[in-house]
């Protein structure tokens, strides 16, 4: 299967939904991807079974502040710099690219590079959604180490990081990114196909495409989205309060949605650290990480990103299940509510109606 220029709109919508408020802005990355496909041709989407066991998969993505990357767009060459660095380290050719995270603009990030370099794109990613930190990856859950991380900018600068664990990878990559000007390209968890099996979340590119197509062809986009991802609509209403502040390099805060129509009289609060982490009603957890919580426009079902959500916006809050690997004990340890500083245990969204936090 190939990703054509005409698929990008649907894919971008799907990635935004899976971004759960973060993962970077999709509109610019969608233009980057479309221009590259128009210039260099469509991108071949492959499963791990289509590749050889020792083919090297290079997960890539943008790192930095979305507001910086909306202003300072990439050169399109960064992933080539990353590949050159990675191939130099491994003395092996890169066989396929993959999105480090499918959520947000990062889900589209490898497409332009894959088109330019003629490399296939793996139908999968390392998160199945978006998460704020490097160590919050399914590869880490599966026991893989980010043995090295490469960060590159548009000037051909690149930095090789050899961290002792995922948390250090995060700290060092973030420091380098700031020196680069607040946005950069990054490759981490570079691995052969044999190790990617069971460690990546497969099928997420097709899933994003399916979500986008369902929404685009629907007369009731929100209902179509709910069906496409198996979501529960937690509430539909207006954003009644937005509180955002920066702490430790992240946007933290909360969004309160006040219901209207059938939800009149209800208030649901979503707590944020770049991504939407927890949905609460009257102190009870409706849904929490690692399950996905997405705010969408109540008319168009377009996902609403953390940095643009505004008072008065009319939205629906949807919750849907994360990939099974995140529901393992180690998955919950790495990206469950306690990993984000909450003092309560993970509540699967299917059960999350009335569990006291």
């Amino acid at each position: 299967m190939f990703i054509e220029a005409g698929d990008i709109d649907a894919l971008a919508r799907g990635c935004a939904v899976l971004g759960t408020g973060g993962g970077g802005e999709v509109s610019t990355e969608a233009l980057v991807a479309r221009q590259a496909i128009e210039q260099y041709g469509p991108v071949r989407l492959v499963t791990l079974d289509d590749l050889h066991d020792d083919d090297i998969v290079m997960p890539v993505g943008g790192i930095g502040a979305p507001s910086v990357s909306a202003e300072k767009i990439g050169s399109g060459d960064e992933v080539e710099f990353l590949r050159a660095a990675v191939e130099g380290i491994l003395s092996l050719p890169v066989g396929a690219l993959m999105a480090g995270e499918i959520g947000g603009g990062n889900g589209l990030y490898p497409i332009a590079a894959a088109a330019r370099m003629g490399l296939p794109l793996v139908d999968g990613d390392g998160i199945g959604r978006a998460f704020p930190e490097v160590h919050m990856a399914s590869m880490n859950v599966a026991g893989l180490m980010p043995e090295f991380v490469v960060v590159a900018d548009e000037r051909r600068n690149s930095v090789l990081i050899r961290p002792i664990d995922g948390k250090w990878a995060e700290l060092l990559a973030r420091a380098v990114t700031e020196v680069f000007g607040g946005s950069a390209a990054m490759a981490d968890y570079v691995m052969p196909v044999s190790r990617a099996r069971g460690a990546i979340i497969e099928g997420t590119v097709s899933q994003a495409l399916r979500i986008g197509r369902a929404v685009l062809s629907a007369t009731n986009p929100v209902a179509a989205l709910v069906e496409a991802v198996g979501a529960v609509k937690l509430i539909e209403g207006k954003v009644a309060d937005v509180e955002r502040h920066t702490a430790g390099g992240f946007v933290r805060g909360s969004v309160v949605v006040e219901g209207y129509g059938p939800d009149a009289g209800r208030l649901v609060r979503v707590e944020i650290q770049n991504e939407n982490l927890v949905a609460l009603e009257d102190g009870a957890v409706l849904a929490c990480v690692p399950d996905l919580i997405t705010l969408v426009d109540s008319q168009s079902a377009d996902a609403v990103a953390t940095e643009v959500v505004r008072y008065g916006q009319r939205v629906a809050i949807l919750a849907f299940p994360c990939a099974p690997i995140w529901r393992t004990p180690r998955g919950i340890e790495i990206a469950g509510p306690r990993a984000f500083g909450y003092d309560f245990d993970y509540v699967p969204m299917e059960a999350g109606h009335g569990v006291q936090a």
């Binding site: 509109s27 221009q35 790192i63 990439g74 973030r174 700031e178 000007g181 207006k238 006040e258 643009v308």
Partner: protein, 520 residues
């Protein structure tokens, strides 16, 4: 002075009508008129001026200011007409080349503006460092290559809203190569962060300069012909005014001024600062929210003629319901519109002896309105009654979607079709129907204030209070520059958005200051 300068002339160009009003020093309506909007827009504006100053009590020598809210710029973009050929320069390589300028634009619009574009090295990081040095030579080569083929230049550089030096340097080269008179639009003067959307707006702005000059000339000529010697101001998308020379430099800011004028006009006519406003026209009704005396702004990106820009426009919810909306009986029940008899209401509606049932007829039957020339013929009673139920539920739904908070809000109703709106609506505390509701938009233009906006990314290290105070001072200075009375400037909006993934506390601060016109 032999006579007093105490009258203002407000003009608003709408889809169907061009309205003009004369207000006195106390904002009392001295005269008003509604004229059909002409295809070229300008003829309708001239007709409205002629009609309103011909009315009794209007001493044209006393007119001090003329305020125009117009659709010239919008129409020019939508119709791809009278647009300048533009040289588009982006300063930012080696960054920002993954999407070329004008990528994603409709092909006919690219053709209409010539499609000349180049990206050269330069631009800034968010913290003020250069990405790389500005490439003056490549800039000169690009402008030389398009000499004789372009009438305007649009220059955008990465992070120019914070650091404009590279844009200014490129502008100097543009004037050296293409002549001192070449039209130059610089992105840092037009939009905020978000390179592609700001660049798009800058290109449209440059392309629209000719249209803006034509309107300005037509208006000043028309005023001179009528012996009116007044300062001319243009309404902009946030409900405030800009001076004529500013409107010629920034014609893109006139796009979206119509809804802003109607909301501001409704505020003035009722004395309210917070309310919901319904502007009921012939084919549609626009709901807007008046917050703190100004229109609430939309959160989504604004698309102008197929081009994505980052302008803030009034948050308007438009529903396909106007005075002329047609009522149809179908086998499954009654349906409304979305088509309308529009300006033909006084000949086609049942209440005027016509044969088309409209929602206005439904309002007349129910006693909400007493317009028309004759009762509707028998046989339509049930359909019209069902139609009115649908009207009421559409309005109730729109009210519910627009308003915030649990409390009820006041609803101000303006526009020609306002008889449709019932007295009792769920969630609405009272329905206000001010005098002169039919020309609220032109009044909104005439009473508008002058604004200044400051929107940049700044380090919060000096402390939040100091940073915000400095931002407010900048916004005030810009309002004064645009003609506001320094004594009465107010800060009406402060927006603070922290930037993620940076360890230094950095935030985007946006401040808007407004004040009444000076020298009134």
């Amino acid at each position: 002075m032999a006579f007093r300068l105490d009258l203002r002339l407000g003009i608003d160009v709408g889809g169907t009508h061009t309205d003009a009003v004369i207000l006195d020093r106390d904002n009392v309506v001295v005269a008003k008129t509604k004229q059909p909007t002409s295809l070229d827009v300008t003829t309708g504006v001239r007709a409205a001026i002629a009609a309103v100053i011909a009315q009794p009590g209007v001493d044209r020598e006393r007119i001090s200011h003329v305020m125009l809210g117009t659709t010239h710029a919008t129409n020019a973009v939508l119709e791809r007409r009278r647009l300048h050929s533009v040289a588009v320069l982006r300063v930012g390589a080696p960054s920002s080349v993954a999407v070329r300028p004008l990528f994603g634009w409709p092909a006919d619009l690219v053709a209409a503006i010539g499609g000349h574009a180049e990206i050269v090295r330069g631009g800034y990081e968010y913290d003020g460092r250069e990405i790389v040095a500005f490439d003056a030579e490549a800039t000169r080569a690009f402008f030389t290559s398009v000499k004789g083929e372009v009438e305007a230049v649009a220059i955008s550089a990465v992070f120019s809203p914070m650091f404009a030096t590279h844009e200014l340097a490129a502008a100097v080269i543009a004037r050296e190569v293409l002549g001192a008179d070449i039209i130059v639009s610089l992105s840092h003067e037009i939009g905020s962060l978000g390179l592609l959307a700001r660049e798009n707006a800058t290109v449209l702005n440059a392309a629209l300069t000719e249209v803006a000059r034509e309107v300005a000339t037509a208006l000043t000529t028309s005023l001179q012909e009528h012996g009116i010697d007044a300062s001319v101001l243009f309404a902009q998308n946030d409900g405030t005014l800009m001076a004529l020379d500013y409107a010629v430099r920034f014609p893109i800011l006139t796009i979206g001024s119509g809804p802003a004028n109607s909301i501001r006009g409704a505020a003035f006519l009722t004395g309210r600062t917070d309310a919901l406003v319904a502007d009921v026209g012939g084919t549609s009704t626009d709901f807007g929210m008046l917050v703190n005396g100004f229109p609430r702004e939309s959160t989504s990106a604004v698309d102008i003629g197929g081009v994505s820009t980052n302008f803030r426009m009034p948050d308007v919810l438009a529903i396909a319901l106007g005075g002329g909306t047609i009522v149809r009986q179908t086998p499954t029940g009654v349906e409304l519109g979305p088509d309308s008899v529009g300006y033909r209401l006084p000949s086609e509606a049942l209440s005027f002896g016509g044969s088309t049932p409209t929602v206005t007829d439904a309002a007349v039957q129910a006693g909400r309105a007493t317009i028309g020339t004759m009762p509707a013929p028998a046989g339509h009673e049930r359909a019209l009654s069902s139609a009115l139920d649908i009207v009421d539920s559409m309005i109730a739904d729109a009210v519910d979607r627009m308003k915030l908070g649990k409390g009820d809000v006041a609803l101000i109703v303006v526009g020609g079709g306002s008889v449709l709106i019932p007295e009792s609506i769920p969630g609405v505390s009272q329905v206000l129907r001010p005098d002169h509701y039919d020309v609220a938009n032109a009044i909104g233009a005439a009473i508008a204030q002058v604004s200044g906006r400051w929107d940049e990314v700044v380090s919060m290290a000096p402390g939040r209070t100091r940073v915000i105070e400095a931002a407010c001072a900048q916004a005030r200075a810009r309002a004064i520059e645009a003609g506001a009375d320094p004594e009465h400037i107010e800060i009406v909006e402060i927006d603070e958005i922290p930037l993620a993934y940076l360890t230094e506390p950095v935030a985007r601060i946006s401040v808007k200051a407004v004040g009444p016109l000076g020298r009134l």
